[in-house]
Amino acid sequence: MGPYLALGQCATVFDPHLNRYVIHYTPGADTALLDFKTAILTHNIAGTALAAWYVFFVAGNLLSRNSIHYHIQFKGLIGRLFRQVKYYMSGMFRGEPHPFPAEDENKFNPLQQLTYLSVMAGLIPPLILTGLVLLFPLLLTEWTGIPNAIVWVAITHTTFAFLSSLFIVMHIYIASTGHTVWSNYRSMLNGWHTEPD
């Protein structure tokens, strides 16, 4: 299950982003990566898939034990965050061990926990919501009576999409800081986390 979920996640997450760049930057440049119509279509499909995946993700976390990974312990949080940052900034270069190795009860380090929670709760929902609104551009004005409200929705969508693409780049990079460079990518596929024995 895990591997498929991860792959599905990749597909639903990547496609909108690639396409966003295509859709957003195409007409200025004369070179189009993708035919514009195709880009729009896949973006719509992938965006809808992302929305569906999100519902699945929230439901899954509510119903399973997985949500414990998102329970932040506020006591001493600052100190722990600081340790994690220090590890990324210097400890890692000196080959020090991870300050918060992944465990069954605690998959994420404090920094990851905080970031993932804010991405999942603060970034993705508005992204999906604005995206859904953009699928039906005329309804918004019908409902709210505010002319050109769609422009602000579009700008919000773009901003959040951009932030989430920053997140993705960092996320992918941070994944290379596991036990070995490739171990985390491997564990995404087979679902097991490898630790030094």
Partner: protein, 325 residues
């Protein structure tokens, strides 16, 4: 009737209050003919009515499409309001047939039609490539048919508030305007009548433009072939001066806003705001809602992130190698 008589006709018309229903115009000008349009359309409504021009060999149709006539700007006029001089009888008298009508003759100082600036349009037309290169062959009627003519503002409302317009949809206006040009430029045959040696090569000239078909459907030829400030739409420039910068349209301050979408979206704009009204007219132009400031900031931030991560990775790699030794 010669030009002077036309001026006289105009003069009489001007004395009449314009509120008088158009049908009565013919009667009140003293013209003896009060012939209903149906009389003329009995013959001129037939698709087969036409003749072969002895000179060019082209088929010249004399059919007047009733449907188009009734949705045109002139729909309220009797045929004989314009075609005077005895068309009520058949065969039509030679005197009547010798008559040449010209838009400007009727529209020179007509208050109601003032907003169209006919005289300025005429000046522009005279400076256009067409009139410059072929002054004898080209006239308003090369492009306009008085029986179908429909301005981009649509037709004036029937009801009191003058100035309120029934708008045409954008796409309709585009098709209407482009058909005018396509009639000649899409078929070399039509052009041959004028310039047998070097008909401009329409398709090759637009090779640079992606997806012609879509552009032909969504923008007017004249949106590219006029000077950008030309709001009167008639000074068609030589080809080398045509607009070829995508950004003129595909950008936030797209020039289409001031031109193509100027009239046709006014009503929906009041109701829905500009961007929506354009979307609604099925003409959402990519790039028009772009925000270049945000775009630049985001590219810079993205660049920084990638560079920072790259540096971190490099640091790890060198540290790893040093430790390995």
């Amino acid at each position: 009737m010669n030009r002077h008589n036309w001026l006289f006709f105009l003069f009489t018309l001007m004395l009449l209050p314009w509120a008088v229903a158009a049908e009565e115009v013919a009667v009140d000008t003293g013209d003896p003919e009060t012939i209903p349009n149906t009389h003329c359309l009995r013959c001129h409504g037939m698709g087969t009515l036409g003749y072969r021009d002895k000179l060019t060999g082209n088929l010249v149709t004399l059919q007047i499409s009733e449907a188009k006539y009734n949705t045109s700007n002139h729909r309220k006029l009797d045929c004989v309001a314009c075609h005077q001089g005895g068309f009520g009888t058949y065969p039509h008298p030679d005197k009547a047939k010798a008559e040449h009508l010209y838009c400007i003759d009727c529209h020179q100082q007509d208050e109601k039609i003032q907003p169209y600036h006919f005289l300025k349009i005429e000046d522009e037309f005279k400076r256009s490539v067409h009139a410059q290169k072929h002054p004898d062959e080209f006239s308003c009627f090369s492009c306009h048919n008085a029986h179908k003519f429909l301005s981009s503002r649509g037709v004036l409302d029937d009801e009191p508030e003058v100035g309120k317009h029934l708008h045409r949809e954008v796409l309709e206006a585009v098709t209407y305007a482009n058909n005018i040009c396509m009639r000649c430029h899409d078929s070399p045959v039509q052009l041959l009548g004028l310039d047998p040696d070097s008909p401009p090569n329409f398709l090759r000239a637009h090779d640079w433009l992606p997806n012609h078909e879509l552009h032909w459907r969504k923008v007017r030829c004249i949106d590219c072939h006029l000077a950008e400030s030309d709001k009167l739409l008639h000074e068609i420039l030589p080809a080398e001066k045509a607009l070829n910068d995508c950004r003129n349209c595909h950008s936030r301050n797209s020039m289409l806003l001031g031109k193509l979408y100027l009239y046709s979206t006014q009503q929906s704009r009041e109701k829905y705001g500009f961007v929506n009204s354009v979307i609604m007219n099925d003409a959402y132009v990519i790039g028009m809602t772009r925000n270049t400031f945000l775009e630049r900031i985001s590219l810079i931030m993205f660049g920084f992130t990638v560079v920072a991560l790259g540096a971190h990775g490099l640091g790890r790699w060198t540290a790893f190698r040093r430790r390995g030794k």
